[in-house]
């Protein structure tokens, strides 16, 4: 019986080894059906997306997913890129670091995607190593953490980290305010929250900052922080947070007799939802910073094209910031693939991206430039003002020197 047991162990060991070999593969083991690059067949390029589809952040991830899907439908209707239609496979990251890594590994190892695109959330940071190790292009995640200024050889982003955004915002704020102003900063107690606070303080309006307060994830009532800031006599509030949080905070400011405090919101607040939740009266007149033109501003040619595509392929759905971000990511990837001379491979995609300069997104973003030493293609923001129930740009794109 002992020899049978030994055969059994050997069989298990061989099976395990074969399984590990299959799981640990990267691009070498992921050849496509046609023998070309992983995720590329003779007529299709398959992209992946790991994004929150469940839980509290699902509205962001779902919005981003729809932006990518509508772009793909729009592009495929035009014939695709270089004779290839695009396909997308999406995995739920659950908005956790572990979930993002697991979803990314699944996309790379099981689905052999050509590249991933448009992941939402700073949980994407946890997956950076996975992509760089597997040498799979990780394109345009929406992550605000300061680490994204130098994301790695296979990662490209157009979202300036929160510190860069807020520095540009601060420089503009200093030129737009008159008289005596006392700024308070209210930010999420996280890497990008502290980055946002530091960024604003490093800008020209930093000299007006009299107090900062941070709030943990899961906060449902900001009154303690606002009372603390009120004691400093603030006239302006720089908020790093989401649209629903901004809506709650605007109401709490009213309640605490701080209704005249002017709000300076972050990128996450520039959505139509804040008007729906807080009411136009509370939001109109406030300012915020955004990396793209507002997703509802059809005066911008690129946004009009985006909205027209949604009207055709997702009628009834009101796309937001994350959908627009995925869309413009698609625009960039399309141009990059068109710029490849030779076969469509991951290395050629990266080389093409690195050679792109002053990429025109039809006004959605400032012109974008990538290089081999700079995978953050955008350091510009636009300041928007809430006007008549919608966000409207108040400036051209402003570039931060941070």
């Amino acid at each position: 019986m002992k020899h049978l047991r030994g055969i059994g162990f050997a069989a298990v060991g061989i099976t395990l080894a074969a399984g590990l070999a299959a799981c640990g593969g990267s691009s070498a083991s992921g050849a496509s059906a046609s023998g070309g690059a992983p995720g590329v067949t003779k007529d299709t390029i398959t992209f992946g997306m790991a994004t929150p589809l469940s839980g509290p952040a699902s509205s962001l991830g779902t919005d981003g997913q729809k932006g990518a899907e509508v772009f793909i439908k729009w592009l495929n209707a035009k014939g695709g890129t270089k004779g290839h239609k695009w396909a997308l496979t999406v995995q739920d990251s659950h908005f956790t670091a572990q979930g993002h890594v697991a979803a990314s590994k699944y996309l790379i190892q099981q689905k052999n995607v050509f590249a991933t695109w448009g992941d939402v959330g700073s949980t994407a940071l946890a997956a950076l190593g996975t992509y760089n190790t597997a040498k799979v292009p990780f394109l345009f995640p929406y992550a605000l953490a300061p680490q994204m200024t130098d994301p790695g050889p296979d990662v490209f982003t157009i979202v300036p980290p929160s510190n860069i955004q807020e520095a540009a915002f601060s420089n503009w704020a200093a030129t737009s305010v008159t008289g005596t102003h006392k700024f308070g900063v209210l930010a999420l107690d996280s890497a990008d929250g502290h980055g946002a606070a530091d960024g604003f303080k490093s800008g020209a309006a930093g000299k007006y900052v009299v107090a900062s307060a941070f709030y943990p994830t899961g906060t449902t009532n900001w009154e303690p922080q606002l009372v603390s800031l009120r004691s400093k006599g603030i006239t302006d509030l720089v908020l790093h947070g989401s649209d629903s949080w901004m809506a709650t905070i605007l109401k709490e400011l009213q309640q605490l007799g701080m209704g005249k405090v002017h709000m300076w919101g972050s990128t996450g607040t520039v959505t139509p939802l804040v008007f729906k939740l807080a009411g136009d009266n509370l939001v109109n007149g406030q300012n915020a910073v955004s990396i793209t033109a507002p997703s509802t501003d059809s005066d911008v040619p690129g946004v009009k094209e985006f909205l027209d595509a949604f009207a055709k392929y997702e009628p009834g759905y009101k796309p937001g910031t994350f959908a627009l971000h995925s869309w413009v990511g698609g625009v960039i990837i399309e141009k990059a693939i068109e710029g490849i001379s030779g076969p469509i491979t991951r290395d050629n995609l990266i080389k093409s991206l690195e050679s792109m300069s002053s990429v025109d997104t039809k006004g959605i973003t400032a012109p974008l430039t990538f290089s081999s030493s700079q995978h953050l293609g955008n350091r510009s923001v636009v300041v928007v003002t809430a006007t008549d129930g919608a966000w409207k740009p108040s400036t051209e794109f402003l570039t931060s020197s941070s």
């Binding site: 839980g55 509290p56 699902s58 509205s59 709030y215 009532n221 009154e223 303690p224 603390s228 709650t248």
Partner: protein
């Protein structure tokens, strides 16, 4: 002085939500010896139902509240029948896993039914605040405080003046002896879960206007409600509410006078200290009888 009073008021506003959730958790624990980790998602479903009735169907707020609360009771009853009753008498770990599974199921069902969008539920008190000597109190929180008081009194009356309440107390004291007296464990357990589900549902509806009805909106309150229940020793209803209020005030004061980074760890630190110092609950007057 006004600032400190405002901070106390803000803390009490938060604390009421923790206390209500804690109360619902205590009710279940006393009868089923189960920790209901699905309390947050069940409360959220009630909020969504209330939204559909009040906003989508344009019916009065009270109708939406009744509908949502009733759904909460139904969810409690279904949960008890499907996941808890088969495990009555099983180790606590089994019951915990069962409620965790329910939490996941309810959360996913919510998303399937209503999608990821955020919804604004109107307040029963309208928008606006009450100002007293420079201190402002959100009118919605005043309604919540009054409802909490009514619930506390109603639950207290039920437990002391009704047959069901007597049965629940007997069951909580000694399940075996209660059964010998002819008290049906299934009925007691079912009613406890339904009442707890209703209380949780009403909490979800009352806080919908403040937190906005969205996926997981009651989850942050759940862990703090758990802390409130611990402070009540998981046996005292008033202790749970008192514990919630204490936690809310401590959070509010710590943000101003210590650090905002302290706030997230405060509930867990309190649980640990309470369990070490007074395992039967800070607000529980039950004596521990030592075996000689």
């Amino acid at each position: 002085m006004t600032q400190i009073v405002q901070l106390l008021v803000s803390g009490l506003e938060n604390g009421i939500s923790y206390g209500l959730v804690g109360l619902a958790l205590v009710l279940i624990y006393k009868t089923s010896k189960a920790l209901n980790f699905a309390q947050g998602t069940m409360a959220a479903i009630s909020g969504y139902v209330a939204y559909e009735v009040i906003v989508s169907e344009h019916l009065p707020w009270i109708v939406g509240a009744v509908a949502g609360t009733a759904i909460g009771a139904v969810l409690g009853g279904v949960s008890e029948r499907v996941a808890i009753r088969p495990l009555l008498g099983a180790p606590l770990l089994s019951l915990v896993i069962a409620t965790l599974a329910l939490d996941s199921i309810f959360g996913n069902l919510t998303q399937l039914a209503w999608g990821p969008d955020t919804r604004a539920l109107p307040s029963p008190a309208g928008d606006g605040d009450v100002h007293i000597s420079g201190v402002s109190i959100n009118r919605t929180y005043i309604v919540i405080a009054l409802v909490t008081l009514v619930i506390l009194l109603a639950v207290g009356y039920m437990l002391t003046h009704t047959r069901l309440g007597l049965a629940m107390r007997a069951f909580a004291d000694d399940q075996f002896a209660a059964e010998l007296q002819g008290i049906a464990p299934q009925q007691v357990s079912r009613m406890a879960w339904m009442i707890s589900g209703a209380i949780g549902g009403l909490t979800g509806i009352l806080f919908g206007p403040l937190l906005f009805v969205q996926i997981g909106y009651m989850s942050p309150i759940f862990i703090k409600g758990f802390t409130a229940a611990v402070l009540g020793g998981f046996v005292s209803n008033a202790g749970a509410v008192g514990g919630g209020l204490l936690l809310g005030v401590l959070e509010s004061l710590s943000i101003k006078y210590v650090s905002s980074s302290v706030a997230p760890i405060l509930p867990l630190a309190i649980i640990l200290m309470a369990l070490l110092a007074k395992p039967n609950g800070v607000f529980n007057r039950t004596l521990v009888v030592k075996r000689v």
